[in-house]
Amino acid sequence: MPPVLVFAKLTVQEASRRRLLIALMILTLIVVGISAWGFNKITTVPRSDGSLPSHTEVVLISSQLLIFVVFMYSGVLALSAAVVAAPLISSEVESGMLLSMLARPVRRSEVVIGKWLGLAVLVAIYAVGSAALELAAVDWATGYFPPHPVELVVYVGLEGLALLSLGLMLSTRFSGITGGVIALVAWLMAWIGGIVGDIGTGLQNQAVESVGIISRLFLPTDGLWRGAVNAMEPDVVLAQLRAAGTFGRANPFAALDPPPFAFLMWVVVWFSVMLGLSIWSFRTREI
């Protein structure tokens, strides 16, 4: 097996043996169970006049609630970046675990790419698994199914992978604690940057709007999150957002349009740059 795949396998194996995967699975099942119960209530809780919500109202409420639930899942991925990716290389350097492996015919780039691949597999498992369960539960409870489920999984997965990539890059130089804190703060800052950009759009102020653009260039997590939000919005919600005009955009849980093609291209470039930086940083580090 090529060293890249050996390190990828080792990363997945560690997450599995350290019971991270089983812990996430149990937590996801609990969240899915609770949210299914909650979503079911939307259809059965009567108004003050005793009537039940209409189908349109159920769709409206369910779609908005689903966005908040998925935001929680993206938060789990962000925290995973802090606890899994940020110490991934640094802890093995500090403990000496990597020493005996790097003395083998192994390139440092293979270590970095292998670990990144392992993280990508973990993110994909979590994103696909949790989304499938949650969407199935919501569909069962309310009859609502988001219009673009595949895009939703891809955007949430890429958002998680972006943070994990940042965490991995930081772990080539910083301790796990430092890298984790930086990754988490960067995620929140990018989220706030996106809101500020939206406010700029609402105010039609280009300078404020560019804050959002710049923050998405540095860390595309918020742009990807908006893609996920857009994938979850039914036509009725999009129509209301359009009716609200530019001010309707100043909301981190709303997205009128899917991410532009140029942004998606930038995401590809960003991942390449991040991986390239990680390899360069680790290769030039003295162990």
């Binding site: 097996m1 060293p3 050996v6 080792l10 194996q13 560690e14 043996r17 350290r18 403990s95 000496g96 675990m97 020493l99 005996s100 492996m101 790097l102 003395a103 083998r104 015919p105 192994v106 390139r107 003295e286 162990i287």
Partner: protein, 319 residues
């Protein structure tokens, strides 16, 4: 004193000579960390099949030397070759075993899985893994714990596992960095036996160790490094040709003891003074001097210089 470090005037080994090239050959290998010098111009040659001891106090540059040779860090200047190839060459690493001073292995894997991981990275043909792993575990005495997770291992057992990993694939050169630091006396004895077996089958061993008695028992040749420089090197016979004299003495204070400086470097352990290099002909003179200073001599024991005597003498001379 022996010549410094088998100092080599030889140029780089030629390509064709790789098969017969020395196990290790360095020319003026230096390493600076910022403004701190870790290794100052290491030049040495370790022949194939030799057990080479690399000694020195903490911070002398021993581990830095090993990491430079393995390509884990880059030299500031100088050149080095392992098995005839320049350091950092990936293919050469297939023929090298390494047990780091900081030995930590994947706690979530079993001992057998850790070794399989190293077989994979080495890389060894899959058909040989079973036998390689079984032999390595047997050699270090971990066969009965092969299926247990590393997390359940004591430090000594982890060190044995590290040694097993270094032995996989019958390497031509093995670096052992403080290989017995966590082992009990039985474990140390086992490691000495393993090193002897390696030497018998023609494997060169580069042994970094603080345990001088251990080095003395297994090494063909040693180099003593201090402040990043090799201050002495040679075979045991070359290094330990002198005599040491241990004296049990009373009635001397530190000031009076310092007046015995003419008798060479001295290891002061209270009432026991060891003159680490003193010609046996000067023993009567030494006793007279102690008595003249008001001291009482209870015992005088000349002996062949041990590596510890020599080591302390060299460090004394170096400061």
């Amino acid at each position: 004193m022996a010549e410094p470090a088998s100092v080599s005037t030889a140029a780089a080994p030629t390509q064709g000579a790789a098969a017969t090239a020395p196990a290790i050959h360095t020319v003026d290998l230096s390493k600076w960390f910022g403004h701190t010098i870790a290794l100052a111009g290491l030049s040495m040659t370790v022949p194939r099949g030799e057990v080479f001891g690399f000694l020195g106090p903490n911070g002398a540059g021993k581990t830095t030397s090993v990491k430079l040779l393995l390509g884990l860090i880059k030299p500031t200047s100088g050149e080095a070759w392992l098995l005839g190839e320049r350091i950092g060459d990936l293919r050469t690493r297939r023929r090298i075993g390494y047990m780091p001073e900081l030995f930590r292995y994947q706690a979530w894997l079993s001992a057998r899985e850790v070794l399989a991981l190293h077989c994979e990275l080495a890389p060894l043909p899959r058909s040989t893994w079973k036998e390689e792993i079984s032999t390595a575990l047997d050699t270090v005495g971990l066969s009965d714990r092969a299926g247990d997770r590393v997390a359940t291992f004591s430090k000594g057992m982890q060190q044995r596992l590290g040694l097993a990993a270094a032995l996989l694939g019958k390497p031509e050169l093995v670096f052992l960095d403080e290989p017995t630091s966590a082992l009990d006396p039985v474990g140390r004895h086992d490691v000495r036996e393993i090193i002897r077996e390696l030497s018998e089958r023609g494997t060169a061993v580069f042994l970094n160790s603080h345990l001088l008695s251990e080095v003395e028992q297994v090494c063909d040749r040693v180099a003593v490094v201090d402040h990043g420089r090799v201050i002495a090197a040679g075979t045991m016979d070359e290094l330990l040709s002198g005599t040491a004299v241990r004296v049990r003495v009373g009635g001397l204070d530190d000031g009076e003891k310092s007046k015995l400086a003419a008798f060479g470097p001295r290891d002061d352990e209270g009432e026991h003074l060891t003159f680490t290099k003193l010609d046996i002909e000067r023993v009567p003179e030494l006793v007279s001097a102690i008595v003249a200073l008001g001291g009482r001599v209870y015992e005088v024991a000349p002996r062949h210089q041990t590596l510890e005597d020599r080591f302390l003498q060299l460090l004394h001379e170096d400061t």
